[in-house]
Symmetry: C2
Subunit: 362 residues, 2 copies
């Protein structure tokens, strides 16, 4: 019996010779399913690549790292799924590394991780991606990286990034509430360390200003990107002598917390209180009523970031998927659902609002 050749492998796996060669050389730009099929064919045929190819086979693996510090499981999974999709396209594998964004030793920790695990590069999410100091410390350590950041435009600072225009989307949400007749609109912050949270606040402030509504600082509550902070913040707002008629939570988890607080206080949503979130996570669709929000294409954004990294790491990563590999901007889009409605005039001397106060104070 003759020794099997690379051609036999290609025929059996129904792929091109080039693809078999790429798999043997452990190159990216082979889909993992195709890779598995080729390896299966190699196994079945007992094919032995020639020695020079074999030496290539033991080359450094292509692994990238994802760094996050975010309390929101749906957001993390969305980002992971996007990065993993790009990994599957290019043959990279993925390590994940949650971290404490406030650690003074973070650059050491991440640099050491990248060295120890021989990572080809990192995808940095916020707030790490938004620290110039950290980014420069990593670059100085020879770490290649791409950032996902909140910004109205490309910072053009020499480091690759994907930027999300949270400000304009938050403006649109606030405008939607104003156009429904709301004047007293509460705002619940996400983590202040995240620029997205600052940008969303800025969009809220800008919209109020443009519509001639004076900002009441009692309606603005600090907090983190969590359900619990949304719940707490809403209870505080609903207990005000003059509570807001609408609340804009900086993400969907916060807005879901607002919804629970409203229900627990006997406040009818949307007829006594309109609620809007941000991100269009599954939470926003699964709430009752479903939440008005800004659709942020989390998975697409993360996928583009990882593609950008792959194309910076290997010029040939996308030669079969010719895509413009440049910094790219995304603008989340307003999605109107059942949680927002026109302001209804309050009847009487505010008895309804008083009883709401009592319940919220419980």
């Amino acid at each position: 019996m003759r020794r099997p050749t690379i051609k036999d492998v290609a025929e059996r796996a129904k792929v091109s010779l080039k693809t078999v060669s790429r798999v043997i050389n452990n190159e990216p730009s082979v889909m993992q399913a195709t890779r598995a099929r080729v390896l299966h064919a190699i196994d079945e045929l007992d094919y032995e690549p020639d020695p020079s190819a074999r030496s290539l086979r033991s080359a450094t693996p292509y692994v990238i790292g994802l760094v996050y510090d975010n309390p929101n499981p749906y957001h993390i999974i969305g980002v992971q799924n996007g990065v993993l999709a790009a990994c599957r396209e290019t043959g990279f594998d993925l390590q994940i590394h949650p971290c404490d964004s406030s650690s003074p030793l973070l650059a050491d920790e991440l640099g050491e991780w990248a060295r120890r695990s021989r990572l080809a590069g990192l995808v940095l999410t916020a707030p790490m991606s938004e620290s110039t100091e950290l980014v420069e410390a990593l670059v100085a350590r020879g770490v290649k990286l791409v950032r996902i950041i909140a910004a109205t435009e490309d910072p053009k600072d020499g480091h690759p990034c994907v930027f999300v225009n949270d400000r304009d989307a938050a403006y649109e949400i606030t405008e939607h509430l104003v156009q429904l007749g709301h004047q007293r609109i509460g705002f619940l912050w996400g983590g202040a360390a995240h620029r997205s949270s600052q940008e969303r606040y800025q969009g809220y402030e800008d919209a109020l200003k443009d519509y001639g509504i004076t900002l009441d600082k009692h309606l603005v509550v600090p907090g983190d990107y969590t359900f619990d902070d949304g719940f707490r913040g809403a209870r505080r707002l609903l207990a005000l002598r003059e509570p807001p008629t609408a609340i804009f939570g900086s993400n969907d988890e916060i807005a879901a917390g607002v919804l629970a607080a409203a229900k627990s206080a006997g406040v009818d949503v949307p007829f006594e209180l309109s609620i809007a979130g941000f991100e269009d996570s599954p939470v926003s669709k699964q709430s009752w009523p479903a939440l008005t929000t800004a659709k942020q294409a989390t998975e697409e954004i993360a996928r583009h970031a990882a593609r950008l990294l792959a194309s910076h790491l290997r010029q040939d990563a996308y030669d079969e998927h010719p895509l413009a590999m440049h910094n790219q901007g995304f603008v989340p889009q307003l999605v109107v659902r059942g949680s927002t409605a026109p302001l209804r005039a309050r009847g009487g001397s505010g008895g309804g609002s008083e009883s709401r106060v009592e319940q919220a104070k419980k």
Copy 2:
């Protein structure tokens, strides 16, 4: 100026000599925060380990892999966080690999991944962990692994595992519903490929039998571990001529879907319909009313699995944390919340249930 020694590093980093040596040799069983502190001290002092230590420094990194095929973000994040906690204890890094559990080439795919990325071992979650064929194919390829499985007892089949007794917990949930007076109890399956789903069904069936309640097959609906399948399944059950008075969803996402379906059909929870879930994920606490469920310590379970793997990979992994590294069982515990209540006698000729049917059929 004299050359800095390993002792200087230890003093500056406030750790033992042994710890510095471990960091230099890239051994596990050093917490990542400690590791970072030591590396920072090495950097500041410009300390150069001697050449023999340096050669060790470039040893193979300690990386383990987590394999999953689960549609539930909260569950995945819980598992990841548990595995990552054990990684931080032992100095391992983590790669993640979502997969298609039904792929016939899965053993090739995972084996090739482990080889390519030089993984020390894998944590397999269900349903992959529950396929004897896959487990044996991986072991035959030299892959070290630990499994998280659903089982009432340790299978003692020679492969390390953590087992979760879903059956007894599901029995307890069903018993709770029966004791509230419910006789018509719907059951919504999670993915049939997951043994957990079969075990939960078995617990439901056993409890009904023990309480002398005849199982009505119309009350049992197949589906996956998702909100959408919970919603669809509940609408089907609520549209029955004689709908159930309680529904047991195989996880919290399913139960949240049931809750949304009930609300959309104008059915009051818990007074017209009791709902129970499984897992005690954040979803169960954030629903309104909050969901009765079985508290499954997802993070602890995954953490124990990763500790078990680490201790199999390196005998010294837990020499500073002496723990009994054996297969371990977990039993989820009943948590009663607002979504379940005593059965209320139906007034009149069933008009209420008819109007419910109309709305659900809409």
